[in-house]
Symmetry: C2
Subunit: 302 residues, 2 copies
């Protein structure tokens, strides 16, 4: 199958109509519109087989996840997704694999009417690079450097589920097959099909002072906000929302604090905006406060 046939069969169907796209797949470049008063937010992430996912990961899950992790970066800036490109490197053309991969990709792209506008298909060890771009009003963005002393620190959902899901996925590769409990299935789905908080991100634009998505674990990602903003934080460990009861309390908190890939948002909100935050149709859990002293204090009140 030639690259041309690959594009026609699998990738052109991902090129949905969009006012922002003057020219999509098929020329030397795509031509894209940024409306007056807006700017472009841009994120790129690579997932490499064996490094970022198990080579046995089903193609449909992979297609979903590699777009999800990029959309999560747009969500963390408050941007509205506009279009994406796909650079796909495969050892060989496996049409079953490709069809499943595109199914996963399009299930998420369709949610946001997000058109594929270009890409590159190459031969080599399996690796996927997606670049997604979104639109933001010129004078508005959720950056890491905006946290202010006294801000409440919030997260958008339960943490640690993806880490538990990763452990279960690892076990499933080596252990004999067994049926999974509902809680186990949920943890695995949080690892394989994270929900980028795109709607929340846009709703936070007039409310939050700083935001980041939690890809490397709460502590590591919150620390990026603290460093960029020149502030510190007090966290109440018991306030961190948890869902899974798969592990003992110690492991659950460890996963919530240090496990990655939850793709929830962490954001800081000034006192006078907290009522506005509570009125949003999205969950927010307060877990701490921004302080002047540039350290991260973790209180465990058990």
């Amino acid at each position: 199958m030639s690259e041309f046939e690959l594009i026609q069969s699998y990738f052109k169907p991902l090129q949905c109509d969009s006012e922002a796209v003057d020219l999509g797949i098929g020329d030397d470049c795509a031509l894209l519109r940024c409306p007056t008063g807006y700017r472009v937010a841009s994120s790129v992430d690579t997932l490499v087989a064996g490094t970022h996912f198990f080579p046995s990961m089903p193609a449909e899950q992979l297609g979903y996840k590699c777009l999800a992790v990029n959309l999560s970066d747009l969500a963390a800036m408050g941007a509205k997704p506009a279009w994406f490109t796909l650079a796909l490197t495969m050892p060989e053309v496996d049409t079953d694999w490709l069809a499943a991969f595109v199914t996963g990709l399009s299930s998420l792209a369709n949610q946001y009417s997000l058109p594929l506008v270009g890409g590159d298909t190459t031969r080599g060890p399996l690796s996927i690079t997606i670049q997604v771009q979104g639109l933001l009003p010129i004078n508005d963005a959720l950056c890491r450097h905006g946290a202010q002393i006294g801000d409440g620190i919030y997260v958008s959902g339960t943490l640690g589920d993806a880490a538990a899901g990763l452990q279960l996925t690892q076990q499933a590769i080596t252990a004999p097959p067994r049926s999974l409990t509902v809680a186990e299935q949920y943890a695995i789905s949080r690892f394989t099909r994270p929900s980028p908080r795109v709607g929340l991100g846009q709703a936070l634009l007039p409310i939050a002072n700083a935001a980041i998505d939690i890809s490397d674990g709460l502590i590591a990602d919150l620390q990026h906000i603290l460093t960029a903003s020149g502030v510190g934080a007090e966290l109440q460990q018991q306030a961190i929302p948890l869902s899974t009861r798969l592990q003992d309390a110690k492991q659950r908190y460890h996963d919530a604090l240090y496990g990655g890939e939850d793709y929830e948002l962490c954001y800081t909100v000034a006192k006078d905006k907290q009522q506005q935050l509570e009125s949003l149709p999205f969950d927010s859990y307060r877990i701490g406060t921004i302080i002047a002293d540039p350290i991260l204090k973790l209180y465990d009140e058990r």
Copy 2:
């Protein structure tokens, strides 16, 4: 070396000042400006070790070339380069290799004051994905589908050099070392350090009806223009500009017609714009004419 240190040491220096960049490396997204009246042209290309380049290719050459092939796509649309992102997958962190890679990359980026605005550094088999974006007036672009019957067909420089350079590079890997002639060195440099025709592309915006860059060989790439425009072409083989005298005439013409990676532009220009074309400070060689009959006729007048 952590990803943070890698970015600080090697990639942040590539983040030169630009009015178009509101926020560069270091947050969840870069924030980029498209001026009113303009739109964004976007191209992405992946180079994989063993598929697109010899694993022994010096890192400096590789850094240069992976940006050059993307800039060539912008040139083919007539766009002005604005910014780029780099997704770099490496088997291990080799600081000497990285320093050389960045030297090659920056030698070309600096020519166009092109800032690096983001990227991703991952562990895995060596592979480089660059996405470069440029700016184009809203109502102007060099597309493949614009060729008109009667247009002259032009190329911007000699063809076949890169194919000869590739052959010499392959020979050098297996044969004992020997000193190269000036002509051989030139052919190799055309393969390793192609010059994207960025200035010409922008100058062609008000002149050419269609354009493409020659990455896969003149015949294959011109055919893309013909198919997209629903037209045909007559080519005079003797009119194709050649430079190398390394091979016999038959091989030289074969390389010019079917060898790839020259990264010259091929474009079509209506009769009433041909004087304007001749007045440009760039070389143009007329090699044929667009015809109504949708086939490609190649005349060999030897």
